[in-house]
Homo-oligomer: 153 residues x 2
Amino acid sequence: MKEIYIETAKEGLQRQGYKLTGPRLAIIRYLAGEKGHPDIRQIFTRIRSEHPGIGIATVYRTVDLLLELGFLRAITIKKNQLRYEVNWPGDHHHHLVCKGCGRVIEFGSCNFQLISKEIEKVTRFRIEEHILEAYGLCHDCLPGKQHYSTEKM
Amino acid sequence: MKEIYIETAKEGLQRQGYKLTGPRLAIIRYLAGEKGHPDIRQIFTRIRSEHPGIGIATVYRTVDLLLELGFLRAITIKKNQLRYEVNWPGDHHHHLVCKGCGRVIEFGSCNFQLISKEIEKVTRFRIEEHILEAYGLCHDCLPGKQHYSTEKM
DNA sequence: GTCCTTGCAAAACATTTGCAGCACC
DNA sequence: GGTGCTGCAAATGTTTTGCAAGGAC
């Protein structure tokens, strides 16, 4: 799965006439193995530890490129913070975000397919993908439980 | 509807011990009448035109406050831009974002309620609200049509 | 060899903070 | 009248840009 993403992204870059450079490959490989939702700074810090000398400008440029080509997407996990996640082919993007501890849980399926045809008919819009974000409280943060965090916000 | 929002927000501020000041009211009134998805700069520019002398720091502080109190929410309409929209009570937040022209269409309902109980059971998560964003092409941007924009991105 | 890409540093832009004076309650 | 809010300006943080050198094809 991870390898497929890396290969697809590499092919995608080349097909569009972009060069396969060290920094770009390092970023793609890191993202392919990242299960969380890193922001720019996290990506930069992580890449730099394995690839010292990389500039943050390159990270910005590469992330923009991957967004443009559709290999990455931006999400708003909390209030006003931008984070990124890998755009796996055919993947859904469904998040449960806990308002208590900020933890993010992914859930696999929704029945959006069932209504998307109806929406397309009414709005004459051709839907290609979607993101569903639900907010609430995880089990540990329900009243009577202590808060703790698995993903730093 | 607009008046209800303004009154609810005013009450909410006071109930939490925040003062009803001129700048805060101006921002709430503007947001209540705004149909689009403004960013900080648009809010600031608009408020300043009717309320010269306001500082941008106040806009940041007020937007943070309204986010905190749940009267406003942040969305990621496109790639990596943060925008804000009014959190109408009981409202759904469903957007169709056109990849061609950037226009944003709201649609009224989804059947998320039907599956949210199932998700809550599996994940032991209590879901309070959700956002659904769908991306695709609007009718005008489907192949064979010309692109144009109704909301500047 | 030709372009594209990179890292660096500076510039531009965005956000936060400290503080004295003002305004709400 | 006390406390919280505001505008300003400075500080800080983030993103973009220009450019010479290096690297992919």
